[in-house]
Symmetry: D3
Subunit: 289 residues, 6 copies
């Protein structure tokens, strides 16, 4: 069994390789080749543009790949979504494709764009969106730098944004969301029906999600006198069941748990207050709950 | 409650942001703004020169900030010192402001400098120091590169140094220490009296010190037969109480402890000799003892 | 006691310093000095070319050093091999010196090279190899870029290779292996007989190997119901004895073990299937088994 | 009068700005703006993708712009070609869009591609080319890295090439030329009819060509005795009329001429032989013959 | 005779060294020394902050130096101004120190600042300016980043600006000009009276100005039939007397002149129209008119 | 006819390519090939280490090459020296191989080194030098960093130096010069006898020397009234015959000459004094006198 896996070339490339490394797979690229190596004889990688990935997975040239939901929809590709890969700080954040117009324009809704020029990289999706709203406009393919086009080169744009800051910097305002997107692991339909490939894809999914889970999480261990255990556990998030073990001194217990890194700064002072001692935070690689 | 916090701009800036990151706070700077973002709605950051920090904390424009004790003293600022932040390898080392003269000169003590020119960035402190010793000299403000001025542009200098190597490279010798300094977390007096701000400042202090504690420390775990436990514990530093837990095999115990990274290379061979097995060293993020 | 230790200058320099750092020694180099600092008063470092290291260790100018087995043999140096330091991903891989000829040539074995020109950096070793096979050839010292010399500047070469890719890129084929090599920690014979220096060298060896062991390994901890313990242990490699401790809930146990990073991706899915919960992978610094 | 001029964003951007600088116009770009400044109040610049330039010039949003003949044809844009800007060493070389297939394939001519997949960035041009040859094939838009697609992702490609080296590196062979291209200065039809804008465009053309003429050319001056003048002139290219002036010594003349830099190395030795003295080569900025 | 010359360290350093290179002096700096070398045995260089230059020239520690008029005035230094060095594109532009206030404030003139805080690096000059206008305000020394201080850390600032863009980016508006400045070559009074040093300073002035003159100028030569000479001369700027020489063909003349680079693009088309042929523009190093 | 030309790889590589460019030859290297391209069909280039160049030119594998006289002598190569290429500022300076010993040692002359260890890259030359002085010493091949070896790893060294600063920095003193060297263009003996190759080599020599001549020289032109001509000519160096031509105004003459760049700063002020007007300095590419 050999799983042909598409790695998105370009802005997601390094983030994807890094995510696989955290998940336990070493992918080695070379500036001269579009076939990165991987230290798993059951996988063969190929670098493919995110825009074209879904097309090649649908056609079966690839068994699976990583790409955005936006480009899957743009290609109207019939594929199997295997997993959503979402973690904002590692380039895997959620993004929106929005309809934006000049701040200084009188456009308020999509209905004001009748007969206007709309520039976008996502031509098919935008045309479907306009049709859905019953608005006739000229949707032009934009080769890039779309957000600088209004008002000189276009009346409105449909463009991807995470925080909106690039749009604001170009004095554009958002008047609607056309599509929400995030990175997905997708599979070819036939490959997903193949038991061996499916097992492999499920393993990859578990490991990728384990690596994503560990991002932004840390381990915390501390000692507590048994009289204070309840108070200490009261501080920890209810949903996480900490590991509690006995120390050789029967009066004391060791508590070990996993926390969101962002909550640690609130929890440590309260643990200390509740009687926690020797509080130690340590880094994690992977979490499979 | 909103705590206005001054981050020292310049040589300490990245080290400070890194320390806060280890403590659990994400500070995000932008080359265009002097108001870095922070992922804590109770804090508002502002980049301020270390030289001016104490002045603005004293005036209450800031509730607190990080700066050196040297600049607090130079400004004779009435502030509350909340914590000394000292860890040499991360730009938070102790430094000295010294009185230095050309190696080739005949100056031996401060008393030889009567009527001479002294160049320094720390004019007020140097003037107080000269007055204390009853020596009259011309103390000139130096805009930088102070250590290259003697003997052509000045007779002596008062300059900051960590290791003295820059002074030696400029053929200067130290004849006295004018001031010792390190980075401090400081607070405005009124802010420190405000219960909410004080609680926040105490939490920040605990987390910053937890992060500093973890620098240069590592975790060590090992298994040991109960007959060897005493020997193994004899090798470990007396002051640290290791966590000892029972394994399912009743003959064996697991020992887990925190050590100075610099001592590990001496301790591991002796632990091995004392019967330690499966000795594993692992990294830490934060320690609150 | 002061141990004079040679650090190989050049391609291995950073990898060696990094390995010592992982082992617990901070080596600080300066672009201006060939005597790096080290934070151990019992050791004095000197940067020496790998090619010359064995000569100076043999002569006793150094007590010990790191160099390749190739250059030890080339110098026919009488030294004590203390440890093989092998870990491919950190520049400490195994390498081969091979006899290579143009793909387009008719040369098939060393015996076809009678009277030909062989370029190499390893002149003495190559001459011994040729003599052993009873072939007379002109062995010329090559100042570098040896692999581009055939067929214009040489008929064959003896050159070092890890993967063979540089040879293939120059259209050369390997017809024999002349020597296999890897990095070694070596000692002067008299130094090895000195009890104090030997104890120090043995400690260094233990710590370097502890650091190498930890490369490519990770810690894994998980909780398991006692009914599933056997199934979970069945998944873990037989040779590694995991640490098993009781949780406060008597029905549950905590399992902690060390695994090859490359096996984790296969083991985690099976642990999950066997009833493992809260599976967490964490990084390690050093392992002394 | 204000001439709106499109500067091609991307690979030609710096070369274009440099060419204008040589022609006497300072264009200043900023990473934050798509409207570069220019030190001529009669011109307003805008950065536009080469692929979209012709479309915007045709529509009159721009009066003129620089782009390739390939993208003019791809857009079937009705514009006025004002000047061909050709100078290979400054990114203004001639290029070809070629039909290429895997070296290992059996495809020999375009007629072998019936029913095959052809990947290209130049979809419309490629479709016209296929139609002209009466071949039906699936022409797919390629988002980049087209040359690595055969044979896995496409059967053939239509791709731009200067030297063919990238194609060879990807083991592709050229079986036909689809289109030859070079950079052009183009104008909107109405703008070209406007006398003021036309005069301005003609001035720009003269200066751009003056700058291109000077690239690869140098000035050469030398002294010659009147008896040797004929011999010296015989060495110089017939078509260039050198400037000959009298020196104060009536027996001697000064000759000053412009030569192709690439011919100087052949001409200087022959001038010397013919009696030239004090031969001096000097650099030029601009040539308007 | 040895002329001690101060080179401004910091932002003007490279521009100054480049200007001297164009003037014919090679200054070589080393990162380790504050005494740059110069290939003229009559000059000895020293790197000095622009802020301190005038003070050391006044005191006679230096014979001369380059610094801004702003810092001469700030130090109220009694020196001889030898030459204004002004050329905007090479960091030698004219600058203004302006009084700026928040755009959103109600301050309109200096008189609205009674009792307010003004931050500046130019404390003495600002105090004199305030006194001159009869306004009492607190003038505070600013260690840098002055323009971000209003309104939080100061009410107004006195800051240097070339184009005003940094002020606008910080939402400040200019309400008065406090001081205009440019770079000057200055001399110590006694040194200027010394005939040898004065001769040397005058030579340096001539060469520096010759180099500045050549910046932004180019040479232009062309051939013209004697019947068209008058028309061609009519196109050239009246003030520049071109060199006109006879060619061997008596009907033709060669014209050689120096022009502002920025006018060439207007003049060349008109020269061509007037009958100029073989128009060639060439670069210049130095011009002493 | 095809001339095989060796380009020295390494420290001289870029300087050599730059010199050929100034001489009129474009050499294009690629990181993947040892056969640089050149825009002259009569020449074929090969990159060769300077140390090995003479050996391959002697053997006729190359017709000619650039290398140092040191390595020619070290190889005792029988080649034809075609031209000395000397220009200090472009890496073509004169260098010396010197015998150096620790400043703190008692060694004064080569005769003090009897029985000592001498480290050098130039083993054969050093052995001949020692033999010539009748001194027996152990000459060891040094793989680099020779100047840091004394006194620990060697007693003395023979090392190349331009200014001696690296030796001084290592606290070594020079006690003799073993060999002086500079870059040479050399030829194979048979190639030099071949009329076509010789003609080609002589052309290359003329152009390389023309390019070297122009380094450090500039053109100077000025106008002068005929009454002042003699005074102006008196200022110019006697050996250079300037070109003097009549202007249309019979009273005035144009003077054009070539000067050493380093003398211009002295000459311009005196030309001005002698009545020179419109003095213009311009850059040169090549000079063949």
């Amino acid at each position: 069994m050999l799983l042909k896996l598409g790695i998105p070339k370009g802005s997601l490339e390094n983030a994807t390789i890094d995510l696989f490394r955290r998940a336990g797979f070493q992918i080695t690229t070379s500036s001269r080749s579009y076939f990165p190596g991987i230290d798993d004889p059951e996988i063969e990688c190929m670098l493919i543009r995110a825009q074209e990935m879904a097309r090649y997975v649908e056609d079966g040239i690839l068994d699976s790949g990583l790409t955005g939901r936006d480009w899957i929809e743009e290609n109207e590709a019939a594929i199997v979504p295997v997993a959503d890969l979402i973690y904002a700080k590692q380039s895997f954040g959620k993004v929106r494709w929005v309809l934006a117009v000049p701040e200084a324009s009188s456009f308020r809704t999509v209905h004001d764009l009748e007969g206007k020029i709309i520039a976008t990289e996502l031509v098919a999706t935008t045309k479907r969106y306009m049709a859905k709203h019953g608005v006739k406009a000229k949707v032009e393919f934009s080769w890039g730098a779309t957000e600088v086009k209004p008002p000189v080169l276009a009346d409105a744009i449909v463009e991807v944004t995470e925080t909106g800051s690039s749009l604001r910097a170009n004095k554009l305002k958002i008047i609607d969301t056309v599509l929400e997107s995030n990175t997905q692991l997708i599979a070819n339909k036939a490959s997903w029906e193949d038991p061996e490939k499916r097992r492999k894809l499920e393993d990859i999914r578990m490991l990728l999600q384990g690596a994503i889970n560990a991002l932004g999480k840390v381990g915390l261990m501390l000692n507590v006198h048994k009289d204070n255990l309840k108070a200490v556990l009261g501080v920890l998030p209810a949903l996480k069941r900490p590991t509690i073990s006995h120390l050789s001194d029967d009066e004391w217990l060791a508590v070990n748990t996993i926390l969101d890194e962002s909550t640690v700064r609130d929890i440590i002072p309260r643990l200390k207050q509740a009687g926690g001692e020797g509080i130690v935070e340590y880094p994690l690689n992977k979490i499979v709950l």
